[in-house]
Amino acid sequence: MAKCGVLGDKDSILLFKAVGLDVFFETDGDKANMRLHRMAKEGYAVIYVTESVYQKCKETTDEFASQAYPAIIPIPDISGIQGIGMTTLKQNVEKAVGVDILFNN
């Protein structure tokens, strides 16, 4: 059985507790990086990270990019959608195909 976790500020992610995900309150960049490492070690398969924290965890997400697990996924927080998830997708498409074929039409 795999574990799923959520990382972010308390106001945004408290709600995920109610549907059975493990929540970790972390807004500081260094602490969030450490927490991500610890969660990866503990065997979390999916870690959802709020966009504002995701920005601060670039090095850790890059580190795990070459492994199948954990999947670190940005989600919007309580202040709204910042579009970081879409930007990541766009970068991937540009890297793979050369041009952005999803968003330019």
Partner: protein
């Protein structure tokens, strides 16, 4: 232009180079096929990823808006009391599947029979119920998003690597081999001609004696 390869002009070296060139050409063809197939699968995944992300972000915004309303109606301690109590953990099965031998995650969630709120209804407002309900609805999509997004980023990396290999073979390795093979052949022919002239000369000298 391909830089010159340092090789000895011998027949041995020539046959080695020809073998290596054949391998490089075959490798180039396979890499090219791999790249094309990866790109084809990537485009399918990327489209799905985009749709899922739009849906998930919409669903989460709805849930969070209701949560903001709920927080306005209830006190902080009441909210925490309602939510901090451990709910039944979701049952997620994490496996690995492989797309052209690239391991990507495969997640599946066991369907839960009947959704239960992890709190009592006495101190909580209706907005909290809406928030939790809409979050529970968007949860399967979030898992699929995690799966697709990870697969997408892994494929993108792999495509980049494969494309570099294809280009390195096509524009560096194979021209270098061609160049070296050509030069050895010319050198060998030159030696052959030199030898022939020498023989003719010797024959003349012997005849004139």
């Amino acid at each position: 232009m391909a830089s010159a390869m340092q090789v000895k002009p011998t027949r041995m070296e020539l046959s080695n180079l020809k073998k290596r060139r054949t391998v490089a050409v075959r490798g180039h063809k396979m890499m090219k096929d791999k790249r094309d197939e990866l790109v084809r699968r990537f485009i399918v995944l990327a489209r799905r990823n985009k749709d899922l992300r739009i849906e998930v972000e919409k669903g989460l915004s709805v849930a969070m808006q209701s949560f903001v309303l709920a927080r306005a109606m209830m006190s902080n301690s009441e909210i925490e009391e309602a939510l901090m109590y451990p709910a039944r953990a979701i049952a997620v099965e994490a496996e690995k599947q492989s797309i052209l031998s690239i391991p990507v995650p495969k997640l599946s969630m066991e369907a839960q029979e009947g959704f239960v709120y992890p709190y009592g209804f006495v101190t909580t407002g209706a907005d909290l119920d809406v928030a939790v309900q809409s979050l529970a609805e968007v949860l399967p999509l979030m898992l699929e998003l995690a799966e697709t997004e990870k697969a997408c980023s892994r494929l993108a990396d792999e495509i980049e690597k494969t494309r570099r290999r294809v280009n390195a073979l096509e524009y560096v390795m194979i021209p270098q081999f061609d160049d070296a093979i050509g030069r050895i052949q010319m050198k060998l022919e030159e030696n052959e001609r030199g030898n022939l002239t020498r023989l003719m000369k010797t024959k003349d000298m012997l005849a004139n004696k």
